[in-house]
Symmetry: C2
Subunit: 419 residues, 2 copies
């Protein structure tokens, strides 16, 4: 698993710190380099021979990580209409760095001046009101770690043939951040709700004025007017200066650049709840207002497009999440679903939040099919793909949450399969 | 607390979505603008009248947040020798964005090629070994959210007079991230430890070759060879490509750019455990190897340099942490310590991790002194400043963890006081 060298090839008598340190650096690195490459390096690494870069006001990733980016698919004629995927297969843990949080915009990212932006609350309220960002910053806040997943995430899973792209390009319209803001219930209660108020119509201040309708119970339950993401103020592409957070619900309801909340008796029947996000079922009926993202999981490493250098230990690492609450269990199969083993879950395991699972796996070099299967606190078990299709039919586009299968070939290459 | 307007000034009959939406935008924003500034805006916000910015590969903060930066204090002749503080008073939640994680460097930030960098483990081991980054990426990993605090954080607390700077510039050599990496125990056990190995001497690959000595028990307990920070690979200023994480211990032991671990019978007696980090006590004895960061808390908002616009509701928000485990309780006083109330703790509350506490506070306009006091799972209670000084004397520089006091004057201005 690793190159090594014998202890007696290291000049141990010179290894103590002190005046001989530089001699060790030369000798030690030379031996190491030699064992690895066959050549002897006579000097320490170049970055130890000169001062490094100055301190900085705001840090950036290493130039060596330039390949770790959101993969953008946008309309060439309207480059603000499209999506960008979080490269889940390149990341670890449960926090998505804000710079890599997925995007879905209809008309680009507005650059909003927070000194001018206001949130208007009107309609079936006792007192229509408007709030500046500075007003909202004075309300009691709450922080929570949670995922946002686009309702259209993983939609290639409905395709007849398994798409061969990295895991993030299939399933990376899902990201997880710590969101901090004002409980929406506080603001609604202050405005006063009329008895016939049943829906909340939320609208963004982008040029598309994207809007959706939300049942009032959710708005009063755990919705948050988010001002901060991962500690700092929201990023522009995540709704700066104000975003609606609806824990566990599909991404389109987490309205970005939020500027209007209208209390109403009926939903708006907006584009994203009629022309989109409504789906014909095999029964002839349609699914509409299918807000909750059901339990899902995904092995991120190893995954499609990666390859194993050879038989041996290959830790399996992945993500699980459920819009209905906490992940209770993740099982992993390395034989295409014939047998399953419980994966370990890294702490913390939080409701409506990414959960990192892990399982050490010893690959014997034979073909293998890797799967993961999540169970949430309601007892719901992530379905196999054929089960999901039997239930939802062939008109599906949204809410694909079936088990994902990666096939490992004898040469170690990994591909996406339906198995 | 907020401007508002009467419902009948809003053209409610045109508020439904559909063809009248744009009319609403004009009318609604006009009314809102009028109520706020006395002038009527006849058009929607400019960012709603044109497409926004395209999708992007890696996001950045809003240009309106340019003031939220690390405050740098570096040697003008050697700009890589110094510190930069996390602006804690501008942040929320428990995650520090990686771009704002504090820095302490001795000779700048090396730009390391991860394809060349190696970790050498040698000394009192069964088999001296070296590991490339690709090797380490194949070991089973673990993720944990945790703080790192410089042992010299808050050292202005020892000054005779309270320093008047923002909270982050006093206490912001502390940050919190999700770290993912390989348990150090795995690697040490693979190398094999000789019976007389008692200390681990860790060295970085910066031009200062910064090194420290760590008792072997800690190395085998919960130390991590971190490769990822907040989901993505480490930032350069946080040790890319490899950093030693020692949960709850002073920052200097979390060696960045880690390239060498020497197992030894005795500590190295390096500069940062002799000339620094050793302190004379009133008893005449010295404190040395004072690794653990004791429980501490801090109100971040409101805090020194901020001001309250007037009497009314002002939520108190702050951070608590302990190197000995989990925060059990945070109490807040608004009367200089005469009476205390329990603050609420946001979930999750994790060991050796920032914990966000909150308490709503109604300011009556009279002078007030705000304090917070943390208790950890061991029962240790954060001390008052005079208690800490009585114990540690006047030669202190490191490990200042006393209660911090902010005085609110009748005009709402807030200053740092010893009270």
């Amino acid at each position: 698993m690793k190159p090594s060298f014998e202890p007696d090839t290291l000049p141990t008598e010179t290894l103590a710190s002190g005046p001989d340190r530089r001699r060790f650096l030369k000798a030690g690195l030379a031996v190491t380099g030699a064992a690895l490459t066959g050549s002897v390096r006579a000097s320490p690494a170049p970055w130890m021979t000169r001062p490094g870069a100055p301190l900085s006001n705001y840090g950036q990733p290493s130039p060596h990580e330039r390949a770790v980016i959101r993969w953008v698919a946008a309309n060439a004629d309207a480059p603000g209409n499209g999506v960008s995927w979080t490269p889940l297969e390149r990341l670890e843990g449960i926090v998505t760095p804000s710079g890599l949080h997925f995007e879905r915009h209809h008309n680009g990212v507005p650059q909003i001046d927070p000194a001018i932006h206001r949130l208007v609350v009107h309609g079936l309220v006792g007192k229509a009101s408007s709030f500046g960002i500075d007003d909202l910053l004075r309300y009691p806040m709450i922080s929570r770690l949670g995922f946002i997943e686009c309702g259209g995430n993983s939609n290639a899973g409905w395709h007849q043939e398994p798409m061969q792209v990295p895991a993030g390009n299939l399933h990376g319209l899902a990201s997880c951040s710590e969101w901090t803001g004002v409980p929406l219930a506080t603001v609604l209660e202050e405005c006063g709700l009329r008895p016939n108020a049943k829906w909340l119509i939320a609208e963004g201040a982008d040029a598309a004025a994207m809007n959706v309708s939300i049942p009032l119970e959710k708005a009063l339950d755990d919705a948050v007017l988010a001002l901060y993401q991962n500690g700092e103020r929201l990023r522009p592409e995540n709704g700066y200066p104000l975003r609606l957070i609806l824990p566990g619900w599909e991404g389109v309801t987490h309205v970005k650049w939020l500027h209007r909340l209208q209390l109403a008796e009926q939903p708006a029947m907006a584009r994203n709840e009629t022309a989109k996000y409504t789906e014909l079922l095999p029964s002839g009926q349609s699914r509409q207002f299918s807000f909750v993202m059901e339990a899902k999981s995904l092995i991120t490493r190893p995954s499609a497009g990666q390859s194993l250098p050879g038989p041996g230990l290959h830790p399996i690492s992945g993500l699980a999440w459920s819009g209905r609450g906490t992940i209770r269990r993740v099982e992993v199969s390395t034989d295409g679903g014939r047998t399953w083993r419980d994966a370990m879950l890294d702490s913390p395991v939080l409701p409506q939040c990414f959960t990192r699972f892990r399982l050490p796996w010893h690959w014997d070099g034979a073909p293998a099919v890797l799967k993961s299967r999540a169970t949430d606190e309601t007892g719901y078990i992530q379905p196999e793909r054929q089960t999901l299709i039997a239930e939802r039919g062939r008109h599906g586009y949204f809410h694909f949450n079936a088990i994902v299968s990666w096939a490992v070939a004898v040469d170690g290459s990994i591909s996406h399969v339906y198995a």
